[in-house]
């Protein structure tokens, strides 16, 4: 029924306008035209051919629309909805679709055309309205869901941060810029001993120790609250509500608003009291002596250096360096506990004597030192030293013992300019040594000349071994003559040191040092062999040689190697033993062993004389059997023999007695220190066989002796 109604108008139109085939558009043709009309009007993600293919079923649906109005309209509605479903949502798409379709629907469908187009428009509008409402609803729901999600996340984050604030082990407070607490967490409350609600609203500076409050206020207001610094770190004392004082490590930072202006202060604090106390204890332990409680070497050294601090040096300073005399004996005999107790008592007495203006330190063992910065002069320090000695006058009662104690004190006082801590301590050390050497129980002050002399001696003594190796020693020879005919009979070998810097040094400058250091033995060995070689050279060259005389030190005479050394020197040079004479002092003759050795040498043919006879202590009984050939008279006895009238009566008597003794024991006598003919004459008259002195020649180079040998 409906198909018949459709055909009639179409046939009539076909007859009037176009051929039958062309008059009935195919779905494909309609879709192509439709696609051309609406392309670009809505955004659809299809190319033109795809679009045409997409529209083809819709076009077919329209071409097949029934003629009765409700059905035709329903078909149009369906197509209108389909367009929107395919994302054709623009009004322009609808407009162009109506025009295009209105023109192309075949004539036999003319009756259905208004209904189809009306249906298409209403279907399009209804679908578009549905779609718009759906999309609006879905985007609103999405927005709400997203918002809920964000809020939940924010709440979770806030809860997390609230938990951090509440559960933190560190005390946290949020305050306004005037220092009033807005929020305080439980850790801070526990630290300050007050519940958080009692902290709220309080002025934070009320909680700070009054001595620290001003400094902290300045720090916060001048640095943080002004925005000059974003955070500060400091350590201040706090006072809790129950009156405890605690050390709080504090970090204060500023929270800024959107414009960057400071708006809140956040303070984080922890209780550092225990750490602080520990640090104080450690510092005290590091700078104090555990036994006496006095300052220790570390603190003393620091204070001493501080006195030389370039920014604020002390003008002058003084040091009393002391140690107890004989402390080691007390320690060794009565035991360390007694020694320690003694040190404690002494430390207490010293502290009382020194007073609060100077630093008293125990450097270790029984060594104490007093440092007086800004001293007024040596007198002040000497007075202090006297007070210290006085404080030790009365005996110390320790464990049932009454111990007498004394101390030796080295006193150094000087301007700080031109010296340094090490120099001060070296001077104090030497001065203490002087005080000890001077007899203990006394003070000594530093003497720079004495120090310089000691330093020079010390340097010399250090240089001796090197000098021996470098053969810096040399021998001079002084003639000895027969007083009857002035014939040269011997020479005395005298050692000299050609010091590379100090020049030629006589034996007085270094023999004492050589004795002290023991170097005198190898030095003596060298002198022996050098003298023997020289005499042998003379013998070879001139056919004869004077007897060469070598001085022996006590240590050499007592040394086990004396015989070997002498024999080696003789053998090494080939000098006949009779041409060697050994000079020794009276003291060297004491004891059995030296005598045995000398006797052996004597039997070898070596001559032995006693030097400076009468100036030492002689065992005359021993002298009688001693292997000795002669004596030398010291110049101290012969000096007055030059007097024009007559010699000193005492000298004359002594010389006469000595000569008599010598000749009785069959000993020859050599007068030394002969400077004038008058001396020589008088001594010869008294019976001296040989003379030695400036009258006959000073100690000189071997070449000078050779002139005498040649004549």
């Amino acid at each position: 029924m409906s198909s018949g109604a459709r055909r009639r108008p179409a046939a009539s139109r076909t007859r009037r306008h176009v051929p039958a085939e062309a008059a009935r558009p195919t779905p494909a043709r309609l879709a192509d035209a439709w696609a051309a009309a609406i392309a670009g009007t809505s955004f659809v993600s299809l190319t033109r051919p795809e679009l045409a293919r997409h529209l083809r079923p819709l076009a077919a649906r329209l071409l097949a629309a029934p003629l009765d109005a409700p059905a035709a309209r329903a078909a149009g509605t369906e197509v209108g909805r389909a367009l929107v479903a395919a994302h054709f949502t623009a009004p322009e798409t609808l407009a162009r679709s109506l025009v295009a379709l209105g023109g192309m629907l075949p004539a036999d469908r003319a009756a259905a055309r208004p209904s189809v187009l009306a249906g298409l428009a209403s279907g399009f509008a209804a679908a578009l309205r549905d779609r718009t409402l759906t999309e609006q609803e879905s985007i609103r729901q999405a927005a709400m869901a997203a918002q809920t999600r964000a809020e939940r996340a924010l709440r979770a984050t806030e809860a997390r941060f609230r938990a951090v604030f509440t559960c933190a082990a560190t005390g946290i407070a949020l305050g306004d810029l005037t220092g009033h607490i807005l929020e305080a967490n439980p850790a801070l409350a526990a630290m300050l001993g007050a519940p958080p609600e009692r902290l709220r609203g309080r002025d934070v500076f009320e909680l700070v120790h009054p001595d620290d409050a001003v400094g902290l206020r300045e720090l916060i207001y001048q640095r943080v609250a002004t925005g000059a610094a974003d955070r500060i770190r400091t350590e201040k004392r706090f006072v809790t509500d129950d009156g405890r004082v605690l050390w709080g490590g504090l970090a204060v930072s500023v929270v800024r608003d959107q414009e960057g202006r400071p708006s809140y202060l956040v303070a984080m604090g922890e209780d550092n009291t225990r750490r602080h106390e520990l640090a104080e204890t450690l510092t005290y332990q590091a700078t104090h002596d555990a036994l006496t409680g006095l300052a220790n070497r570390t603190l003393f050294t620091e204070r001493l250096h501080r006195a030389f601090d370039r920014t604020a040096p002390a003008e002058r300073l003084g040091v009393c360096f002391l140690d107890l005399d004989g402390f080691k004996i007390i320690n060794d005999s009565l035991g360390h506990p007694v020694g320690d107790e003694l040190l404690r008592v002494v430390a207490g007495r010293l502290a009382d004597a020194v007073g609060p203006d100077s630093l008293l330190a125990r450097l270790g063992g029984d060594e104490f030192v007093v440092l007086r910065a800004d001293s007024t002069g040596e007198a002040e320090l000497v007075e202090l030293a006297e007070r210290i000695l006085a404080a030790l006058d009365s005996p110390v009662a320790v464990a049932g013992h009454e111990l007498a104690v004394s101390a030796s004190i080295g006193v150094v006082e000087r301007a700080t300019f031109g010296t340094d801590p090490a120099e001060v301590m070296r001077a104090a050390d030497i001065t203490l040594y002087w005080a000890k050497a001077a007899g203990k129980g006394r003070w000594a002050t530093f003497d720079s000349e004495r120090d310089a002399a000691q330093a020079a001696r010390h340097q010399l003594s250090e240089a001796l071994p090197g000098a021996l190796r470098a053969e810096e020693f040399t021998l001079a020879y002084q003639p000895v003559v027969d007083l009857t005919d002035l014939r040269l009979t011997g020479v005395e070998a005298l050692v000299r040191w050609r010091h590379p810097r100090l020049g030629l040094l006589g034996p007085d400058a270094f023999l004492g040092l050589a004795e002290e250091t023991g170097l005198v033995v190898p030095l003596g060995r060298w002198v022996l062999s050098a003298a023997c070689r020289q005499a042998r050279a003379w013998l070879d060259r001139y056919g004869w040689a004077p007897q060469v005389s070598v001085n022996l030190a006590v240590r050499e005479v007592c040394g086990a190697s004396l015989v070997d050394d002498v024999r080696a020197a003789l053998a090494g040079s080939g000098l006949p033993a009779g041409l060697l004479q050994l000079e020794l002092t009276e003291r060297a003759l004491m004891g059995a062993e030296p005598t045995a050795a000398l006797r052996t040498l004597c039997e070898d043919g070596v001559r032995i004389v006693i030097d400076d006879f009468g100036t030492g202590y002689s065992n005359l009984a021993h002298l009688r059997h001693a292997p000795v050939h002669g004596i030398k008279l010291a110049r101290s006895f012969t000096g007055s023999f030059d007097a024009p009238a007559h010699p000193d009566r005492a000298d004359l008597a002594i010389v006469r007695a000595l000569m008599s003794l010598a000749h009785t024991l069959d000993l020859t006598v050599t007068a030394s220190g002969v400077e004038t003919r008058r001396q020589a004459h008088r001594l010869r008259e008294l019976g001296a066989e040989h003379g030695q002195g400036w009258l006959y020649g000073r100690p000189a180079e071997p070449a000078h002796i050779e002139q005498l040998l040649a004549t």
Partner: protein, 268 residues
């Protein structure tokens, strides 16, 4: 007080969103009055803007098809916005029903909506992340469950990077993404430019400065430089409608008026 970095973003529906403005330009209703007001203001300056947006969408379609033709079956669409008509998975599924797509956006509303729409789709995922955090974005569990980064991926950055300012160094960002991709991966970029129409582009920049997503126009050289590390695909970086158009009659007479460059590169 400024929002600290650890606090989640608040949602402010009064602030226009690029994703919802885009939807409006495409004829959708997933938008609010402030979005529509901003979009209309933009149209006032550049009347072709809806056409530009559609051209971007068309470029996305052509790029996805190119990728499929090149054998790439995985897509990472960053700045996907509201998944309105012609989105990647619709285009891709027409050729490969199992093509995998990860949509990424920073707009929480867009992400929520996308998730609602795609809830039942096993081959897609929606990730809320910021393009400026490549490592975090690429480490997302959902993304890793959907995409296999050991195989080629088409990285789509359509109308995205002009929302990344110079301070965030987009070239460096792209390099960092590129490093994570397998050889044979593709990079598709379309990008706003002021080349050709300065007065309007300046006005546009000002307009977008007031949205949640301020805009940075870049020159052709700057856009080409974003492809550092990728081999250019013919015809290189060109005005948006000129990149491999489907039909000659789609090409407008004045392509520069679309204010956009587009290009595709391949990771060797």
């Amino acid at each position: 007080m400024e929002r600290p970095s650890w606090a989640p973003e608040q949602i402010d529906l009064d602030l226009p969103s690029a994703a919802r403005m885009y939807d409006y330009f495409l004829g959708g209703s997933h938008n609010f009055a402030p979005d529509r007001a901003a979009a209309q203001a933009a149209i006032g300056i550049i009347p072709e803007l809806p056409a530009v947006m559609r051209a971007n969408r068309a470029f996305l379609r052509r790029a996805v098809r190119f990728a499929l033709d090149s054998g790439v079956r995985q897509f990472l669409d960053i700045g996907s916005g509201i998944p309105t008509v012609g989105n990647v998975h619709e285009v891709a599924r027409a050729i490969d029903p199992q093509a995998r797509v990860a949509y990424v956006d920073t707009d929480p509303v867009a992400v929520t909506h996308s998730r609602a729409l795609l809830a039942d789709d096993p081959y897609t995922v929606v990730v809320e992340a910021d393009v400026r955090e490549p490592e975090r974005l690429l480490a997302d569990d959902g993304l890793r469950a959907t995409l296999d980064l050991d195989r080629p991926v088409a990285l789509l950055m359509v109308a995205l990077l002009h929302f990344v300012g110079p301070a965030d160094d987009p070239a460096d960002l792209v390099r960092r993404y590129g490093r994570a991709l397998a050889p044979g991966s593709l990079l598709a970029i379309s990008h706003g430019t002021g080349d050709g129409r300065t007065a309007e582009s300046d006005a546009m920049l000002r307009l977008y400065a007031d949205t949640a997503n301020p805009l940075t126009a870049r020159t052709r050289d700057e856009v080409a430089a974003l492809f550092d590390g990728f081999e250019p695909v013919e015809p290189g970086v060109v005005f948006l409608p000129l990149w491999r158009p489907d039909e000659a009659d789609e090409v407008p007479a004045r392509p520069e008026r679309f204010c956009s460059y587009a290009g595709v590169g391949r990771k060797p």
